[in-house]
């Protein structure tokens, strides 16, 4: 398997583009902050990774702003950056062979919450006409399709915390099956509204963080939970043949992917199997992996399962890979995560520096792999990306860089 990443677009709490996010990750500057978009005095969620510098009016075609929700705004902005970065010439593109494979876990709540208020305060006739189309999780796929008139095979995915990476993997597989020549893959999430954050809080997995000290300890032993984040990451994926035809260039190649399911939150055997499957598809041994951009999300059971799976695969290697989690910078973005970790790996390869896991000096005691507690000089040849959902869905993807 070899699928080329040819462009990327990213929006999150660290910034609105690749350079801003790179600067944030490599300087150890987190985007986690106290929520100011709705009153939090009595709300259980008070801290999140919020894209405070993002303006839909600056980044999205004006005809799309009113009728789409914030998570679609992110997706449209990230898609535009990815298409531009890849140098896709729309005149030469066979749009019937260009698809969109996005993940989104929980839809859009900005417009939906407004619709609830309209319904209860003004009556059924006054509900805004976008209540349904703006909310539903396939909206980003639909509006990006409309924006670029792309009609290739496309799908949207919901897979809890693994949503984004699952979408990328299926997008890559659609290229391998010959369904498309170009795929926009990744995902988006905007859960930081009063109702949206409440839904996530009810999972019992959101950390209780003091807004006066807004930090996300992804590997920490003193919080035990995740911090929500909002944002999107989109990659343009192309087959080697398609890339050669248009004489484009590759940022990195996806060389192995796998999706498995463990029976429940604490099992790890199938996650280890997913990593081994991805390695086998890439025709690599565990020694080849230089760095892991992990799920690492602060939830003790999830971190323990991920650690156990990684140890099972890599403990016998002479030089186990360096592990890092970047969610302490952005928050967990569910649909927006996964592709974000992949872009972080691109940043590491470009700069020869691995972003530090924030606050890892107080890591949970079970971690045995080396952790990037500070920015580490390393030019990775292969990176492993991992995502893991609440009920045990695992996704693993291997990137190969040519230096």
């Amino acid at each position: 398997m070899r699928i080329s990443i040819t462009g990327c677009g990213i929006v999150n709490a660290c910034g609105n583009d690749y350079q801003a996010v790179a600067q944030s990750l490599l300087s150890g500057h987190s985007g986690i902050s106290a929520i100011r978009g709705f009153p939090t005095e009595t709300h259980p969620v008070k801290v999140a990774g919020i894209a405070t510098r993002f303006s839909a009016h600056d980044a999205v075609h004006p005809r799309f702003v009113a009728k789409t929700d914030r998570f679609t705004h992110f997706a449209l902005a990230a898609s535009e950056a990815a298409m531009m970065g890849a140098g896709i010439e729309m005149k030469l593109l066979d749009r019937s062979r260009a698809g969109i494979w996005f993940g989104n876990n929980s839809g859009g709540w900005d417009i939906c919450e407004r619709g609830f208020k309209e319904f209860y305060r003004q009556g059924v006739e006054m509900i805004n006409p976008w209540q349904a189309t703006a909310w539903f999780p396939a909206a980003p796929q639909g509006f990006v399709s409309i924006r670029y008139e792309l009609t290739g095979c496309s799908k949207s995915f919901v897979a809890d915390r693994a949503t984004g990476l699952v979408a990328v993997i299926h997008g890559a597989r659609s290229l391998m099956r010959g369904e498309n020549d170009l795929v926009l893959a990744g995902g988006t999430e905007a859960p930081v509204t009063s109702f949206g954050a409440t839904c996530y809080y009810e999972t019992g997995e959101v950390a209780d963080v003091d807004p006066a000290r807004p930090v996300y300890r992804t590997l920490g032993n003193d919080v035990g939970g995740l911090v929500l984040g909002e944002g999107a990451a989109v990659l343009t994926l192309e087959t080697t043949q398609a890339l050669l035809r248009r004489q484009g260039s590759s940022l990195a190649d996806i060389v192995g992917v796998a999706i498995t399911t463990d029976p429940g939150a604490v099992g790890y055997v199938r996650l280890a199997y997913a990593i081994r499957q991805a390695l086998a598809q890439a025709q690599l041994t565990p020694e080849a992996i230089d760095i892991v951009f992990g799920e690492g999300n602060g939830i003790v059971s999830c971190n323990a399962a991920e650690e156990a799976a990684l140890w099972e695969v890599f403990s016998a290697t002479k030089n186990p890979p360096l592990y890092t989690s970047i969610k302490g910078y952005t928050g967990h973005m569910y649909g927006g995560s996964g592709a974000t970790e992949m872009i972080a790996a691109l940043i590491a390869a470009q700069y020869g520096k691995v972003p530090a896991t924030l606050h890892a000096e107080k890591a949970q005691p079970f971690w045995r792999l080396p952790i990037a507690t500070e920015v580490t000089t390393l030019k990775p040849r292969h990176a492993l990306i991992i995502a893991r959902a609440r009920e045990g869905v695992n996704a693993a993807l291997i990137l190969q860089f040519s230096h």
């Binding site: 004006p62 009113a66 009728k67 006739e125 006054m126 006409p129 976008w130």
Partner: protein, 80 residues
């Protein structure tokens, strides 16, 4: 500019239509390319402003001046 045209104009601007395209002779579909949901939003804005139920009939692709006339007529009927 009439009150009705002002409401329609603001509604269209809020939908992202450039102000210079919003003329009394502009047709809702042929020129402004309104889709069905955008037309509903314009109707909702008119309802909020004048408490009238206005349905924009795409089959005739009315000009904005036609729409203004329709609303003003209904206002007259309502106050009669």
């Amino acid at each position: 500019m009439s009150d009705v045209m002002s409401v329609i104009r603001q509604s269209l601007i809020d939908l992202g239509i450039p102000a210079h395209e919003i003329t009394s002779q502009a047709r809702v579909q042929g020129d402004l390319r309104l889709d069905s949901t955008e037309a509903v939003q314009v109707s909702l804005d008119l309802k909020k402003a004048f408490d009238l139920s206005i349905k924009i009939d795409f089959s005739t692709d009315p000009m904005l001046t036609d729409l203004v006339r329709l609303v003003e007529l209904q206002l007259v009927v309502k106050t009669a």
